[in-house]
């Protein structure tokens, strides 16, 4: 019995050093978020980027680590709001209605409002390491938006792309393309080949 327990213990303990440092404590909902976002935060501070859109899996750790000096909000609800605006059921200039709408978002809706009304907030998006010109950059090119971007390594096969529109503010509500390209979603939730096969038909 003691020998069996020792075998079990050694087997388990030996797997610990083999565990991937970046993936071990990732949430099962998104294993692409960078386990170490110090580089991203340092860059954003250096470039005085205070507001950005990103998945909450990227955003909240940045907000927490910077003690809210950098606010990063999930654009999903704003993208849905864009649908209502295009359908004529809402207006982006009706701030009170937008406030009420976003209040249904149960995770820090005031962050969303702060980023929504910020001047040229950046975007932090997941891109595959070998995807040199992802759909979001193609969208900006198509609409003649000047931008600056930088890549940061995230988890294996995945990068974080920090895009800062320069010529104008890009709102997640302005086009349904952002929903189609799943702008800030974690790609591995949909399988590794999801983006490459799906986005081919969009542009």
């Amino acid at each position: 019995m003691l020998a069996l327990q020792a075998v079990l213990l050694i087997t388990q303990a030996s797997s610990y050093p083999l565990a991937h440092p970046g993936l071990t404590f990732q949430t099962p909902y998104c294993r692409d978020a960078p386990s170490n976002n110090d580089q991203v935060i340092a860059y954003m501070r250096r470039e005085h980027i205070q507001y950005a859109w990103a998945s909450s899996w990227i955003g909240f750790p940045i907000i927490f680590k910077t003690q809210e000096q950098i606010i990063v909000a999930d654009p999903s609800d704003v993208m849905k709001l864009g649908d209502l605006v295009r359908a004529g059921k809402a207006s982006m200039s009706n701030y009170a209605a937008i406030h009420t709408y976003l209040a249904d978002e149960n995770r820090m809706p005031h962050y969303i409002e702060q980023v929504l009304y910020a001047d040229r907030p950046s975007f932090l998006i997941f891109v595959w390491h070998n995807d040199l010109h992802p759909p979001f950059l193609r969208y900006l090119d198509m609409h003649q938006v000047m931008y600056r971007f930088v890549r940061f390594p995230s988890e294996p096969g995945m990068d974080i792309l920090l895009v800062t529109p320069l010529s104008r503010t890009v709102s997640p509500a302005e086009s349904d393309t952002f929903q189609q390209i799943k702008l800030t979603s974690c790609p591995t939730r949909f399988g590794p080949d999801y983006q490459a096969s799906y986005f081919r038909n969009i542009f």
């Binding site: 213990l9 388990q12 303990a13 610990y16 050093p17 565990a19 440092p21 970046g22 071990t24 404590f25 990732q26 949430t27 998104c30 978020a33 386990s35 170490n36 998945s55 909450s56 899996w57 990227i58 955003g59 909240f60 750790p61 907000i63 927490f64 680590k65 003690q67 809210e68 209040a103 249904d104 978002e105 149960n106 995770r107 820090m108 809706p109 005031h110």
Partner: protein, 95 residues
């Protein structure tokens, strides 16, 4: 005299002499040893992983820091963080 004898008998019956070493005293303490070993392994794992924090954990951290700063809630109901989509309808936004 009678009472004294009775008390002595009772006392001797409730305090039997223990002749063997208890399971929780050194070095026969497998439970404590197992706990210490488990703790050690997890500390090694945490150090190895570099203190990764996911979005949900960070959100709890943000709310906690608000609480320590004395932030008042605008909502009449206490705030809650919906993580499992089961009790979301009862959650109020956290401001």
């Amino acid at each position: 005299m009678f009472d004294t004898k009775l008390v002595s008998a009772k006392t001797s019956s409730v305090t039997p002499k223990i002749s063997r070493i208890s399971w929780y005293t050194w070095p026969y303490c497998p439970l404590i040893a197992a706990l210490m070993l488990a703790l050690l392994l997890r500390v090694i794992l945490f150090i190895h992983a570099g203190g990764v924090m996911d979005g949900d954990e960070a959100l709890v951290g943000v709310i906690s820091s608000h609480l320590t700063q004395g932030v008042q809630f605008l909502s009449s109901s206490p705030p809650c963080v919906c993580v499992d989509n089961i009790s979301c309808s009862r959650c109020k936004p956290y401001y």
